[in-house]
């Protein structure tokens, strides 16, 4: 371990503060999924992902990460800043004119850490597979990670990708699903049930694991375990249970905070629950 669990939890607390402040600052954006995935991002970038400090698009010899559910950009941006990809002061520009921190992640403004645009849902798994295929052709044994929303899996392209990856033995690919059971119009079970994702992916030929995405020790262990499963002929799917809005009591567990910004009072309430550990931007 590079960090203790306590240290990772402290980083996560700061990232959560950043998220609510960023979304409040521009009065738009998506706090719910961002907060739910904060522990995952912290574990990934501070413990699991083997990345180079100097960002390069090609990422030769390092692990790659793709965010398919691009609307949770706040958590990614804050994580990238704390991991040293750019200065955290830039977080204040989120969603504002002339910013590199666009509403949804993009390569257009050359933000270090981002390798493809996302925001229009359902495209990231294909891109991650493509990057993994190139790694294989290059004889590069590092890993490709990706994150997907559960509602996002309603997009058909995911299932084209899900069929492709096992058939082509893309086995350095670790896709995580933010299994929060929520999307814009309500709980996924009410909008369009995903039923058993585990059974679906297993039927397609994936190795499926289940993790608790809001328990730091569990998610670190789960991602390390996922790496040990790589190279065995199957892509890996990490079904990660989370709570939308995790860490801010009034946002938790409801689709209402998928894409709503807190007002001044709500911001204060949220910040009171999230200790400032590394200094606000």
């Amino acid at each position: 371990m590079k960090h203790t669990i306590k240290e990772l939890e402290d980083i996560a607390s700061q990232i959560r503060r950043d998220i609510v402040r960023m979304v409040h600052g521009c009065q738009s954006g998506h706090p719910g999924g961002s907060l739910g995935c904060t522990d995952f991002f912290t574990a990934l970038y501070f413990e699991v992902l083997n990345y180079k400090k100097d960002f390069s698009m090609d990422g030769i010899g390092e692990d790659l990460f793709f965010l398919s559910n691009g609307h949770i950009s706040p958590v990614w941006y804050s994580t990238l800043a704390h991991a040293g990809f750019f200065d955290k002061s830039e977080l204040a520009t989120f969603r504002k004119l002339d910013s590199r921190l666009q509403g949804h992640p993009t390569t257009h403004e050359h933000l270090p850490g981002v390798r493809v645009a996302s925001g229009s849902l359902g495209q990231g798994m294909s891109v991650a597979i493509g990057a993994a295929l190139t790694k294989r052709l290059n004889g590069d044994n590092s890993y490709v990670f990706s994150l997907h929303g559960d509602g996002e899996l309603q997009e058909g392209q995911n299932w084209e990708a899900a069929m492709f990856a096992p058939f082509h033995k893309v086995d350095h690919l670790i896709c995580t699903v933010d299994y929060n059971g929520q999307q814009i119009d309500g709980p996924t079970d009410k909008v369009l049930s995903l039923d058993s994702l585990q059974a679906k992916f297993e039927a397609f030929g994936w190795h499926v694991i289940n993790t608790d995405g809001n328990d730091m020790a569990a998610i670190v262990e789960g991602l390390h375990y996922a790496k040990t499963l790589a190279g065995k002929g199957k892509p890996i799917l990490n079904l990660m249970s989370t709570q939308m809005g995790a860490g801010v009591d009034y946002m938790m567990g409801s689709h209402k905070w998928h894409g709503t910004a807190p007002n001044d009072e709500q911001l204060a309430t949220a910040l009171a629950q999230l200790p400032e550990t590394l200094g606000d931007y």
Binding site: L97, A117, S120, G156
Partner: protein, 319 residues
């Protein structure tokens, strides 16, 4: 310059929601589908009164278009609702084959078009949708200019038989057209008669054209302003008649100048009546995050840009 005033500002997507509700009351064959954006598309009133005629398809736009095409078989009139980007580019071949080529009576209703979607940024701000849709044979393309016109257009397309693309937006803007207007597909609306230049505007740009017209009047320029809400079929007659009188034209749209209304007008004029034309449109670029007003200004879609284009085109006319 004819005086236009407004007492309230509303979003055109709410005009769509109100029109869909009306159309649903008038004709029980009207059905609606949505891809996890019910609130954004303002479909709540329709869903409340006609729950059995509403289908939530989830985040699956391609499936939605296919289901809509299928539902026409047997007589339903499906209205699909999602953002403009996911209504067009995302599902182009599904529209092309199952709707346009198969001539199905599907109404593709697209909100959050253009830059004025704002902070979500370029992934969601489509500036190419008019072009994509107008290239499909048989597709009617409509981009109304305010709440009332969007409501009227929504009711009108339910009565029209054939595929339609209806484009509207997110921001609140002045409501200045007649609440009781009869919407005629393909018929231009004369906003202001003038003699020096023809300003042709669609969608959110119509109010900007009116603002520009007022500024031009102060400069002694008498602008004719025409609202083209139906980009296809284009009202050739109204445009030619006006341009014959004024001798120059400025087209205004919240869309890429490649493939938009401006190019449709240019095609008409080069074949029928070659005329100096300037384009107020985005210039082969993606958008970005920002407030709607900031973006309209940065990308050259404000009244001042129309005024400048008019001055330029009048200069070219004299040259």
């Amino acid at each position: 310059m004819k005086k236009y005033t407004y007492t309230e500002k509303k979003d055109t997507r709410s005009g769509f929601g109100a029109g869909l509700h009306e159309a649903g009351k008038k004709n029980e064959n009207v059905v609606a589908l949505c891809a996890d954006l019910v609130g954004s598309l303002k479909m709540d009133a329709f869903i409340k009164d006609f729950p059995e005629r509403f289908t939530q398809v989830g985040i699956a736009e391609a499936n939605m278009i296919g289901i809509a095409a299928g539902m026409t078989i047997g007589g339903k009139i499906p209205f699909t609702g999602t953002f403009a980007n996911f209504s067009t580019g995302r599902v182009y071949d599904q529209i092309r084959q199952s709707v346009a080529y198969s001539n199905k009576n599907v109404k593709i209703c697209a909100s959050h078009a253009g830059l004025t979607l704002g902070e979500d940024g370029a992934t969601h701000q489509i500036l190419e949708d008019i072009g994509l849709m107008k290239m499909l044979p048989g597709m009617v393309v409509i981009n109304p200019c305010d709440y009332n016109q969007t409501k009227a257009a929504t009711i009108a397309i339910a009565e029209y038989e054939g595929p339609v693309y209806l484009r509207f937006g997110r921001p609140v803007i002045p409501v200045f057209t007649d609440p009781d207007q009869k919407f005629e597909i393909g018929k231009a609306w004369m906003v202001n008669e003038g003699t020096d230049v023809t300003i042709i505007a669609t969608g959110h740009m119509v109010w900007k054209a009116i603002e520009a017209g007022e500024k031009l009047a102060e400069l002694g320029i008498d602008a004719e302003i025409i609202n083209i809400h139906t980009i296809k079929p284009l009202d050739d007659e109204a445009i030619l008649k006006s341009v014959k009188k004024t001798g120059c034209v400025v087209t205004c749209e919240e869309h890429n100048k490649f493939g938009g209304l401006g190019e449709s007008v240019a095609r008409l004029l080069t074949t029928e009546l070659p005329t100096p034309q300037e384009f107020v449109a985005t210039n082969d670029t993606f958008g970005e995050s920002g407030t709607p007003d900031q973006l309209m200004s940065k990308y050259g879609l404000d009244a001042v840009n129309i005024v400048e284009a008019v001055q330029k085109v009048i200069g070219r006319k004299k040259a």
